[in-house]
Symmetry: C2
Subunit: 198 residues, 2 copies
Amino acid sequence: MSTITISAQAVANLREQTGAGLLDCKKALTEANGNHEEAITILRKKGAASAAKKAERATKDGIIESYIHVGSRVGVMIEVNCETDFVARNEAFRIFVKDLCLQIAAASPLYVSRAEVPEAELAKEREIAAAQVQGKPPAAVQKIVEGKLEKYYSMACLLDQPFVKVPEKTVKEILTEQITKIGENIQVRRFVRYQLGS
Amino acid sequence: MSTITISAQAVANLREQTGAGLLDCKKALTEANGNHEEAITILRKKGAASAAKKAERATKDGIIESYIHVGSRVGVMIEVNCETDFVARNEAFRIFVKDLCLQIAAASPLYVSRAEVPEAELAKEREIAAAQVQGKPPAAVQKIVEGKLEKYYSMACLLDQPFVKVPEKTVKEILTEQITKIGENIQVRRFVRYQLGS
């Protein structure tokens, strides 16, 4: 196995793009034989794994943030938790929380995650979906109903919604990226959205 | 009955202090024989009566406002309704709503008004109060328990709380003054207070 020389500039570029640590970038570039795109993929895989591990850690700090839309007829307040006061004061964290407020203002989710959807609500959605596909073979019905439930989650649950600023990703995916980038577990604890008179 | 001459300056002073209309101030001063303090009392009585009448009118407009305390560990969001878009954009109305946010941040009410306190909560408070005054004559007990309930309302209900900026008045009294001054019914529809991690 030949040794590849990884330039400092290549490492710096990778760090800037991914937010990963110096050593991780160097390792990834070596593993990828200096290929920038492949190194990103390697980092992403590692990052996602480490984000999943971080997602189990306790979040006792965080911030409360709010957003009032121009005209004062829509307002959002959110609590997002992280692990330390240090991250709570971090600029990137604060921008992310502001983005979540805008997301909630624009896309009106009802719950943070699937786990919060009341059983009765789910049963109702399942019933509506089943009624719409009556007469089809049971196996197909099951699949269609599950598909419709997924659709419901992607409308009603903040984490399942397409992220308004980057619609090809879900809020959950953006959250995982932030956990990787910021290096602490982050959790949306609760939010509330007021619309004048409704 | 002799005719009293009311100076324009006296009317202007009264207007500035009470926010009442020109004609009302002139009438009140005439009725009070030019006595400034008495004129205020007359205006207050009329104002309170007219505020009570206004308090029955429909509030379909208003604003959503929020307040995040320095450090982002306490946040408040509120919806306050008024009758027209005109008042919703009014500076005095907006300042009043901001003051309500500060009130909620500082004094942590649980409900807007007494009507919102759940019956179970009231029963519990009544029970605690009754246990504290055991052994006294029933008539006295009744009175003490009612007194303790009043105390509870003045802690738990926004409208019954002493107004933080003017503690000798309740929020309800300040609200009534605003209804008189602004000339439209105003209602606190709902609020929410987040405290980090609790």
